[in-house]
């Protein structure tokens, strides 16, 4: 099954996961590429996206698996035809065969940009580092079956905090993904709970890279 690596940015970050699947199905159609359909009563085109991305999160490392009918088309051709059929903000970066098994995908690196409407107190990065240096950091997580309490610490593999301007702070976090998955925005939730005076006015989030267990880039 061929795999596409794609980026989602700009106004496309507001497209939901389900809508993105439909968007790709139509893009394939526009590109004149026939997707294989599922069998059964209500056949659906076979496309799947590896890690559903939350609304509002930018990414440079999304994976799309798909299967095409008919004769083989060179990957470079697929890439250019797809990109010519995609709306702004969604861009295929590479198309390749023999992608690794998705269950080997283990780590996700994200960048959180914390925006403050006032200047950030001097020791903020240090205080945030200290917070996540604790043994446990418990945060509530709203799920389908109500709210559960999650400890973030076991899921955070690496964390770097740096101030990038007088009002912006960057958190670069390497976290678990799949069983369980760390939603990087939970770090922000933790700051709100434990360091309420450092709660940002807005947070941007961007997926940077995905890795396997050994921190080898996953493709």
């Amino acid at each position: 099954m061929p795999r596409a690596l794609f980026a989602k940015k700009g106004s496309a970050i507001y497209i939901s996961h389900l809508d993105l699947m439909r968007l790709f199905q139509r893009a394939f159609q526009r590109a004149g590429l026939k997707l294989t359909h599922s069998q059964g009563f209500n056949p659906r085109p076979l496309v799947s996206i590896a890690l559903p991305l939350s609304l509002g999160v930018e990414s440079g490392c999304e994976l799309l698996d798909f299967q095409l009918e008919g004769e083989q088309i060179p990957n470079e051709t697929l890439l250019s035809r797809l990109n010519a059929a995609l709306p702004v903000g969604v861009e295929v970066l590479a198309v390749y065969n023999h992608g690794r098994k998705l269950k080997e995908l283990a780590l996700l690196e994200s960048i959180l940009t914390l925006e403050y409407d006032r200047d950030i107190p001097q020791d903020t990065p240090e205080n945030i580092r200290k917070l996540f240096a604790q043994k446990t950091v418990l945060v509530e997580k709203k799920g389908k079956n109500g709210t559960v309490v999650q400890d973030l610490i076991p899921m955070i593999k690496q964390l770097a905090v740096r101030q990038i301007s007088s009002r912006e702070l960057e958190l670069r976090v390497l976290g678990c993904c799949q069983n369980p998955t760390l939603n990087p925005l939970q770090l922000c939730a933790a700051i709100r709970v434990y360091l309420p005076e450092l709660a940002p006015d807005f947070t941007r989030c961007r997926r940077v890279e995905i890795y396997d267990q050994n921190k080898t880039i996953f493709r």
């Binding site: 496309a12 507001y14 893009a27 159609q29 526009r30 004149g32 009563f41 609304l55 709306p87």
Partner: protein, 611 residues
Amino acid sequence: MTDLKHRILLTVQKPARYTGGEWGEIKKDLKDVRVRVAFCFPDTYEIGMSNLGMRILYGVMNEMDGVWCERVFAPWGDMEEAMRSHGLPLWALESQDNVRDFDMIAFTIGYEMAYSNILNMLNLSGVPLRSRDRRGLKNMVFAGGVCAFNPEPLAEFVDFFSLGEGEEITVEILSLYDRAKGEGWSKDAFLHEVAKIPGVYVPGFYRHEYNADGTLAAIIPTEGAPEVVRKRIVEDLDQAYFPVKMIVPSTEIVHDRANLEVFRGCIRGCRFCQAGFSCRPVRKKSPEVLYRQAVQLLEDSGNNEITVSSLSTSDYRGLKELTDQLIPYCREHRVNLSVPSLRADNFSRELMEKLQTVRKSGLTFAPEAGTQRLRDVINKNLTEEEILNTCARAFSGGWSNVKLYFMLGLPTETDEDVLGIADLVYKVIKTWSACGTNKKRGLRVHVATAYFVPKPHTPFQWEKQITPQEYLRRCKLLKSHFYSKSIEYDYHSPDLSRLEAVFARGDRRLGAVLETAVKNGARLDGWDEYFNYAKWYDAFRQCGIDENFYTVRGFGEEELLPWDMIDVGVTKEFLLRERHRAYQETVTPDCRSGCAGCGANRLLKEVACDA
């Protein structure tokens, strides 16, 4: 740093509605643009993006050199709240620029319950509501769509109306504006010139006088405005602009598919139906052109569904030729082809069976009335036999879902007619018992009744609307006669239809009510989540206007009607003749069986009516 708008976007439902950036949206370089049009649809993105008229006119305007037309929709309540609390004005999708910075603000209005949204959108844009408070050429507000056939409730707010089909007139209006802006005309000078374009109605040029009893005494044209404004039509639809490149929304909308309009007008003449009369004369598109456009639409949009649309698709003469080509194409490309608005004739039944190879959706009938007598009154020529035969055939083919739509409060309706609905429903159930093959699944009959709203430019434009109490009594009477578990009965709450009736036949005195209701917070009235009759009730009281004057009173045949200065093609004499035939329970055969002389053919110069 993230700007305010983008911070807000993540706090509201379905933010993709507000960002633009979809496949097929049109962006232009501002240095090539002389006229910027904010094309507003007075409802949400999901509704507006499903509207074919808007898609056509978006394309028409953007085809013009120097014009950039962008889309604007009504925000959902959560977004409106966020915008108001942060002082963020309404923006257009393509450029994300504020609506108040646009030269022209256009609205397309398909139903009366959107009126509050028009005012609310102007208010959210920071543009003065009343025409007289917008002094310059900038922010010129104009509107079209079926509601423009009685534009009076909006007369104080909209600078001018464009009547009828917009493919040609919109180009004329925009070209004139382009010149006016270039030459620095005043608003008044522009309105005088635009009023000369056939099909343009400038309400400010007409003075209304009233009798002591509140009825209209005179509509007096001033400033040289024409006494009657005739709607515009496109004569040759094959040559008319059609957008084969469509915007493909990145988020789900109501009608998320390609739309192929096969003809305009209607040969049927159901006496309650506004579209059936006001969209005449009948003009068709050829199957070859339609097939070509369908393929282009599907290839360019990547849609996996296409719908063939018209007011009554079985009446399209080229339907067999078109579907003979389209069905194999759709099958090969895995495109779902839907053909709604089919009549219960033999060809349509065969077609339905061919189309339903994959999914078996339900059958839907709109008998509108429960007895043959009342169906004759309203000229709905669908017989019980046709309904039951179609049901029998469908049930034996495995269908098990039927929807039946009726209206209550039709002229001359008695309790016998109301109970006739129950009778018909039981005959459908009996047919199921006799013919149903999929008995395990069980039958579902969904019955819905609507509250009859008399509409302008129909033979029922003079009719009384029954009172809400009487309507509810008839609903309950009907409900008490439904015993079977297979029946699911829904009736619309009367408040909305009552309000719709007021504005459908309203005059310009209602402008004050509209403004007051919007100030009271009325908006998104088409949505149950937001519709609140109390806000409207208060507005009527505050303005000293009695709803009953427009609803239960009825209009006299001799009375001057607020829309009498508008000619939609069908003559008032014909409508009156049809009204009298209704009371005699006499049907008028469809136009194809013989021309009934409605008068709409007067609009045609190059081709004959294709009834």
